[in-house]
């Protein structure tokens, strides 16, 4: 009686296993193809306030760490930032403190880039706090896709500690500012041609971007009457 046998499970020769692994690696490589540049969004998503506060808090913490480590608590360390930016940057004189990949699941692919442009204090104004215009840019598919928030943040030093005041988003100002952005240029904050200016106003401190006339305010009485352009 002929014996019946089940087919033996044979292992593929080593060379084929190697080829298989290589093919898989190449396939994975191929999945990482760059997405085409997205069309500028007409209506960009609004971001809820709690999340904005959370993202700004991460930026604030990094700024505080930087001042502590690079300046021993002296905000004058911010003066070193322009020299650390690549030579040839169009607006090399601006002082910008940034945090990349906030809440990103994969670095550079998604999450948010937060950049704060320093406006005040004015030279000689000893009582001025340090005032930043902070912009949050959302990233997706390895590209910046939307400017989701712009607001003012003031920082003061008291008894060796940093004190913060964070302003409101100002949706009208954000819309006005977005409308002026060049759709042919890559989205970034601050944009190369922005002209932010501290302007006097009743509410304490106001900042206007001159080209779009977008205006943000913050209740910091010490700065009322200040004017300075960036």
């Amino acid at each position: 009686m002929p014996s019946l046998s089940l087919p033996q499970a044979r292992r593929a020769p080593r060379i084929w296993r190697l080829v298989g692994v290589l093919a898989l690696l190449l396939l994975l490589q191929a999945c990482a193809t760059r997405a085409p540049r997205p069309a500028p969004a007409v209506a960009e998503p609004a971001m809820d306030e709690a999340r904005v506060q959370q993202i700004v808090a991460v930026w604030r913490q990094l700024l505080a760490d930087y001042i502590d480590q690079a300046g021993g608590g002296d905000p004058a360390a911010l003066a070193q930032l322009p020299a650390r930016r690549a030579t040839g940057t169009l607006r090399a004189a601006r002082i910008v403190f940034g945090a990349l990949d906030v809440e990103a699941s994969v670095a550079e692919r998604d999450g948010f880039d937060v950049q704060g442009l320093l406006l005040a204090p004015r030279p000689g104004a000893a009582a001025d706090p340090y005032v930043f215009v902070v912009g949050i840019v959302q990233r997706a598919g390895y590209r910046p896709v939307a400017l989701v928030d712009v607001r003012l943040v003031a920082m003061a030093t008291r008894d060796g500690r940093l004190e913060w005041t964070v302003g409101d988003g100002g949706p009208q100002a954000l819309m006005r500012y977005r409308a002026r952005l060049d759709p042919a240029a890559p989205l970034r904050f601050p944009a190369d041609k922005d002209r932010f200016e501290l302007v006097a106003c009743d509410s304490g401190l106001c900042v206007e971007e001159q080209l779009s006339a977008a205006r943000w305010s913050l209740a910091v009485p010490a700065l009322a009457g200040a004017t300075s352009a960036r």
């Binding site: 019946l4 905000p75 030579t87 990349l100 300075s228």
Partner: protein
């Protein structure tokens, strides 16, 4: 039934099982195969410098982000390697002299070849591979030093990741031997170029020295070095570890090799780069060698040039690879336009890229092995031509610097005149010509910066000196209260700082943070500049808004060697006032009185 099948299987096994000697023989053969494979791999990897077959991609860059300038960091690391090498060489000389030079080796130890060899060894140890460099640049310490900036970029969607390149056998090499992109001295370069500069540059230098030893002149010896390296069938760009493993022959790599040769020669002899000449970095001082470097932050970057950027100086490809890469670049012309813009922020047209490509075919007039097909090279100039009408400046006559396109007496959208742009580009002759025509020297842009600020920010000390000679304002404060002196000191330009002080620059001018030039010198640990500032009446007691004076800055930064000079200056300044010039150290005041208790002088 199942059991019988299993039994059958087991029963068959003993008959197929090889005998003990046969198994031993198989093991020996397998071991021999593994040994041969390991040997072949070692030969492949070890035959050339650790950078062979590496590729980087300057076409794919981080959209919407800015790079950090690593030029000063890389320069300081290279300078540290030079200093260590000189210290070691001098110690060897001392040892030989102390022993009475029984082997007659002092002369050899004092030779230029020996000290150059030591520099090579220390540089190899500083930057062994670009992978390690890339890893370090992505580390949290590096990123924290450059907040919000890209320290190194290695895209996951590089131009070499195109899926249709899957069947290309050279793709795995390109996939695994990658290098990141960094910015150094204003040029975007692959980190593989740094390793090329160090390693292959040293090979060029050895061949250059042998050619010189055979009696050849400088130019001929240089070309002999280039050709000898290019002729190596294994390690050259056209060899097995170049074109035939990656499909790419990189002109940027060749330029970095050539710049490496210039660097090693420049250690002990002056070298020419274009119209300029660089003085040697080392000098004999009695029995020893001495480092005599000016502008420490540019020790490396003075050799970096746009030749190293593979977008500006495109590669030569094997036909199949080139075809696919051409197609990928064609889909990314918008991305390229984002990064290559003129001084007004507008995308540069293909005519500009074509002119740049022609210019970079030689190293300032010297051949360095550049090759590119005459017809349809894989380059932005050839591929992105259709985009010009929409976005580029096809109508402009392709100036290599933006100021050339500006009519005189006009300013661009950032308020910058042709003279301002010429200063930023380091075109001193053009600055002089425009000034002679009556263009304002001190006109400011929208950030309040003059042409002098622009020249200083972009590392153009020669142009800055020319501007000063023409009468530019040495005290003009821009936004944030930044004066030309603050910029000169922050850039480590001692000679320029001296020229500014001679031209009347206020050594005690404070920026918006209350910092003076002395704070910057103390932060850098720059003894020469600190001494210069103190001699011109810099006040070491001036404090920032936060109450920090230069002494505290120096102490915090670990530059204790500056403390005596800073302390010594305090009573002099108090007696003579801030305008005292040429004050010498006269006494040592109580350190405690000046450290930590300085009242913040009202900022100006």
């Amino acid at each position: 039934m199942r059991q019988s099948a299993l039994a059958g299987s087991h029963a068959a096994a003993p008959t197929q099982r090889p005998s003990v000697p046969e198994r031993a023989s198989r093991r020996r053969r397998a071991l021999a195969r593994r040994f041969a494979a390991a040997l072949a791999t070692s030969l492949m990897v070890g035959a050339g410098p650790p950078v062979q077959a590496h590729e980087s991609d300057q076409y794919t860059l981080p959209a919407g982000r800015d790079f950090a300038d690593l030029g000063p960091l890389l320069s300081r690391n290279v300078l540290a390697a030079i200093r260590d090498a000189v210290a070691r060489t001098n110690a060897e000389i001392d040892n030989a002299l102390a022993a009475g030079d029984p082997l007659g080796q002092v002369q050899a130890l004092q030779s230029a070849d020996h000290v150059t060899g030591q520099v090579m060894a220390y540089l190899f140890a500083t930057y062994p591979t670009n992978e390690l460099l890339d890893l370090g640049l992505l580390g949290s310490a590096a990123r924290a030093s450059y907040p919000g900036l890209v320290t190194m970029y290695r895209p996951v969607e590089s131009i070499y990741d195109d899926p249709l390149l899957m069947l290309d056998l050279s793709k795995p090499v390109r996939a695994f031997f990658r290098a990141g992109t960094v910015s150094a001295g204003g040029v975007l370069i692959g980190t593989d170029k740094i390793i090329h500069f160090i390693y292959v540059g040293s090979l060029y230098h050895q061949r250059y020295l042998s050619a010189v030893a055979r009696g050849l002149g400088e130019a001929e010896a240089t070309q002999r070095a280039v050709k000898a390296t290019a002729a190596n069938p294994l390690t050259s760009e056209s060899g097995v570890l170049g074109l035939y493993s990656t499909g790419i022959r990189s002109n940027g790599d060749l330029a970095a090799n050539f710049a490496g040769l210039k660097f090693y020669r420049n250690l002990t002899e002056p070298v020419r780069i274009g119209a300029g000449s660089l003085p040697p970095m080392l000098q004999r001082d009695g029995e020893h060698w001495r480092v005599v470097v000016q502008d420490e932050d540019t020790v490396f970057t003075r050799f970096v040039s746009p030749h190293w950027n593979e977008v500006l100086n495109p590669n030569h490809y094997l036909r199949y690879v080139g075809g696919r890469v051409r197609s990928v670049i064609g889909s990314r012309c918008d991305d390229v336009a984002d990064w290559y813009r003129d001084g007004d922020g507008q995308p540069l047209g293909t005519a500009w890229f074509a002119a740049r490509q022609r210019e970079l075919a030689t190293f300032h007039g010297e051949p360095y092995g550049h090759k590119l097909p005459a017809e349809h090279p894989v380059s932005v100039a050839d591929i992105c031509r259709g985009d010009d009408s929409a976005r580029g400046r096809a109508g402009v006559d392709a100036p290599l610097w933006w100021g050339g396109a500006l009519p005189a007496a006009h300013v661009d959208s950032l308020g910058r005149s042709a003279l301002w742009q010429a200063a930023a580009a380091g075109r001193a002759d053009e600055v002089e010509r425009l000034a002679a025509r009556g263009e304002a020297l001190d006109a400011v842009d929208i950030d309040g910066e003059t042409a002098l600020h622009a020249a200083l920010r972009r590392g153009q000390p020669h142009t800055a000196k020319r501007l000063l000679a023409l009468g530019a304002d040495a005290n003009r404060a821009a936004r944030h209260g930044v004066t030309p002196l603050l910029l000169a000191v922050a850039g480590g330009h001692a000679e320029l700082a001296a020229a500014l002080l001679q031209a009347g620059a206020d050594p005690n001018a404070q920026d918006q943070f209350g910092r003076t030039a002395l704070h910057d010198a103390a932060q850098r640990g720059d003894r020469a500049i600190a001494t210069l500032l103190l001699r011109h009446g810099a006040d070491a007691t001036l404090a920032s808004r936060h109450g920090t004076d230069a002494l505290q800055v120096a102490r915090r930064a670990g530059h204790d060697d500056l403390l005596p000079a800073l302390r010594a200056s305090v009573p002099v300044v108090r007696k003579l006032g801030a305008g005292a010039s040429g004050a010498a150290a006269v006494s040592l005041p109580d350190a405690a009185s000046s450290v930590g208790s300085s009242p913040a002088r009202p900022a100006r």
